[in-house]
């Protein structure tokens, strides 16, 4: 998809920069030059020195203006060359912002920030081609999860557990949203680091700002715990990024214009429930069905002792086209563990834990990697087996068709305050 987004195609002549080799002259200056020449000619023929002095003064004025115009031309030409150079190499390390909107948009697309471009506030300023590119990238990289209902809060061995401490299963409604098809890779996260993501305080939660300085790699450079000198380990560019706290995952998500999925969103994407009747919403235990198959995911005993590249194990894809929801790495969600009442126990921890889903390459039990299983971790923990993927609500995005913008803008809501996956509780 990104191959169609060759930056050179979108490079246009910057406004205000003249064509090289020409000098733009004001018509007034030309008129003054002609008048001065006429005056000097009359003075020479008629022998009137007064008129000849006026003509000479006019010619001096024109000369000064010409020199200034030549200097301005050279300066603008140098500037134009520099701008073209910047746009032709939109490398990851290039943090200089292009001066025009299209150049900036191309750079953002190359950084994987297409969802941010499709925010209605930004999308209306994009050219139709860029907007289409952003939308195509979105549908290529993310899967649409339709809205619908999901039964949560029930355990598999509900019959064996004391019903007094087991919460009743309840039905929640999930709005339509997009979910990344793959977990965020080291390569993508590298772009976040290279553009100074750890220094952009606006991306980070207010309460963690003092702690951001502590999110460093083995060499003390900002980055995931397992990295060194701000670089991911060699050969792992397509492996999911691990060693990042919940706050780092949330900051990255904001940078790309997305967010972490909620608990129910994650579960719905994996279990893909089908509503057969008002009380019957069977969801799958695993993205591919109800029976465990260790050949479709990377968990303990699957044969791998660490993470695998995100494009591997394609047979474990979910109905919606999402890869590696189960196994390889746990995935941070935005949920607070125990707060939603989805777990049967009364957890009492001083630090509110954040939920993680899906299991990892070292998860031992099969029942810990089901779509329904929920684990948790300290939000500042930077574990070797926890990564993340991002989500974005459909209602937060403009469509690929610019003509629809007007109606969409009216329904746009603030990202942070919007109910991303509004849960409408219904009696089970």
């Amino acid at each position: 998809m990104f191959s169609s987004l060759n930056p050179a195609v979108h490079v246009r002549r910057l406004p205000g920069v003249p064509q090289q080799g020409k000098i733009e002259l004001n018509p007034t200056i030309v008129s003054v030059a002609v008048a001065s020449a006429v005056c000097m000619a009359i003075a020479w023929v008629a022998g009137v020195p007064f008129i000849g002095g006026g003509g000479a003064a006019g010619m001096c004025y024109v000369g000064v203006k010409l020199i200034a115009a030549i200097a301005r031309r050279d300066k603008q030409a140098r500037h134009a060359n520099q701008s073209r150079h910047d746009k032709s190499e939109p490398t990851v390390a290039n943090t200089e912002l292009p001066e025009d909107i299209d150049g900036l948009a191309v750079q953002m697309l190359s950084q994987g920030r297409y969802a941010l471009l499709l925010r209605p506030q930004l999308a209306r300023n994009l050219s139709a081609a860029l907007r289409r590119d952003a939308h195509d990238t979105l549908t290529d990289r993310m899967a649409l999860i339709p809205d619908g209902q999901l039964l949560v809060g029930q355990t598999e061995d509900a019959d064996q557990i004391d019903s007094s401490i087991l919460p009743r299963g309840r039905v929640v409604t999930v709005q339509r949203f997009f979910l990344d098809r793959y977990p965020v890779t080291n390569k993508l996260y590298q772009k976040f680091i290279d553009t100074g993501g750890y220094e952009q305080m606006a991306l980070w939660d207010q309460q963690i700002l003092p702690g951001v300085l502590d999110f460093v790699d083995q060499s003390g450079t900002p980055g995931p715990a397992g990295w060194c000198d701000g670089r991911f380990p060699k050969g792992l560019e397509n492996h999911p990024v691990v060693g990042i706290s919940w706050y780092e995952a949330a900051a990255y998500s904001r940078w790309v214009g997305k967010r972490l999925p909620t608990d129910v969103e994650w579960e719905k994407a994996g279990s893909w429930p089908v509503e057969l009747a008002a009380t019957n919403r069977p969801g799958r235990r695993f993205p591919w069905g109800n029976a465990m198959d260790r050949g479709r995911c990377n968990i303990w005993g699957s044969g791998s002792e660490g993470t695998v590249a995100v494009e591997e194990l394609a047979t474990g894809v979910s109905v919606g086209g999402i890869h590696q929801l189960v196994g390889n790495v746990w995935e941070w969600t935005s949920g607070v563990f125990g707060a939603s009442g989805f777990v049967s126990r009364d957890y009492k921890d001083n630090i509110p834990l954040r939920t993680i889903r899906g299991g990892a390459f070292d998860t031992y039990f099969e029942n810990h990697v089901t779509c329904q299983f929920q684990s948790a971790e300290d939000p500042v923990a930077r574990k070797h087996n926890i990564g993340f993927r991002c989500a974005v609500s459909v209602c937060d995005l403009a469509s690929g068709n610019p003509e629809e913008t007007e109606s969409e803008e009216r329904s746009t809501v603030n990202e942070e305050e919007s109910p991303q996956a509004e849960l409408t509780e219904v009696k089970a």
């Binding site: 061995d157 004391d162 007094s164 401490i165 303990w300 005993g301 746990w330 563990f337 126990r345 009364d346 957890y347 009492k348 921890d349 834990l353 299991g359 990892a360 070292d362 998860t363 031992y364 039990f365 029942n367 810990h368 684990s375 948790a376 971790e377 300290d378 923990a381 574990k383 087996n385």
Partner: protein, 303 residues
């Protein structure tokens, strides 16, 4: 049946009772139909298996304070070795040997820790198993008991309180000493002191210059290391920093020892139980470093 026949049968039974069967653990005398040793309470099935199958298993012990994770460690070790298609495989001998594995794995799969091992030796779980290795022609016969931590403390502080512990540790070919890394990281030194006590106890138990404990292999395993990543990265450095007494003790008195880090739960949380008390539960199971200490011990004992 006539009266003569009755007398003959009784004589036969009396004759069987007259022959004492020595306990495999403590060598104490027992009757032929005893289930548990009347001296040390070890299961007599170990003796009967050794006799009937003509095998003489060696003993590896797993010791540590109460709550350090001995049951979880042994249960997971058994399960991993019996499930993993690795160069080292475990095969249990006798139904009683599977109980520990079964209880531990069932509890962990429910995100609970197994029940505390009772102090009474007759209620301990004993494991008699075979270890198959691809490079060895014959399997290794092993006995590994799951001892209660409180009983261990009692025996170390007051020797001969639990004769079974004394007998087991005297006969053990090697030992895995479990140390709680999470409490050490928290700054408390109890684990350091207790491990030093255990090491001293072992040295006093067998002071034979050739076969004493200073010659036998000791693997020192920091458990619950998932709560302290630095422990996984370098267990030796962790030992020097957090258990200086134990480290010095091992350096000077034990010729074969090595430090390991292990963890079973990926994370734990406090939970209020139905009786109102707070307890700790695992949030997921991610075994790390479980097999390594055992593998090293096997190599040391059977090298």
């Amino acid at each position: 049946m006539n009266r003569e026949g009755q007398v003959t049968l009784d004589s036969y039974r009396l004759a069987q009772y007259a022959v004492q069967v020595p306990c495999y653990i403590c060598s104490g005398p027992n009757t032929f139909d005893a289930e548990l040793c009347r001296n040390c309470s070890a299961p007599m099935a170990l003796t009967y298996q050794a006799e009937t199958q003509k095998v003489h298993p060696r003993i590896l012990s797993c010791i540590g304070t109460s709550g350090v994770g001995k049951t979880v460690f042994l249960g997971m070790l058994m399960d991993m070795l019996s499930r993993q298609p690795d160069d080292m495989r475990l095969l249990a001998r006798g139904a009683f040997s599977i109980t520990l594995q079964q209880h531990t794995v069932a509890a962990l799969a429910r995100c609970e820790f197994p029940d505390k091992t009772p102090n009474e030796p007759e209620r301990w779980n004993w494991v008699h198993c075979q270890i198959h290795q691809t490079r060895r022609r014959k399997p290794i016969e092993l006995i590994m008991p799951d001892m209660a931590g409180e009983a261990l403390i009692e025996e170390v502080d007051h020797p001969d309180t639990f004769p079974v512990i004394r007998s087991l540790l005297t006969k053990s070919a090697g030992v895995m000493i479990l140390i709680d890394a999470s409490t050490l990281s928290g700054g408390t030194s109890d684990q350091d002191y207790f491990t030093m006590k255990l090491l001293s106890y072992l040295l006093e138990l067998v002071d034979d210059p050739k076969h004493g404990w200073h010659q036998r292999p000791v693997s020192l395993v920091f458990t619950k290391a998932d709560e302290s990543e630095s422990c996984f990265e370098n267990p030796l450095e962790f030992a020097q920093a957090h258990t200086p007494g134990m480290w010095r003790h091992c350096e000077e008195r034990f010729q074969k020892h090595k430090y390991f880090a292990a963890g079973v739960a990926g994370a734990c949380a406090n939970v209020r139980r139905s009786d109102g008390k707070l307890g700790r539960v695992p949030l997921r199971i991610e075994p790390r470093g479980i097999v390594e200490p055992f593998r090293w011990l096997i190599e040391q004992v059977w090298s």
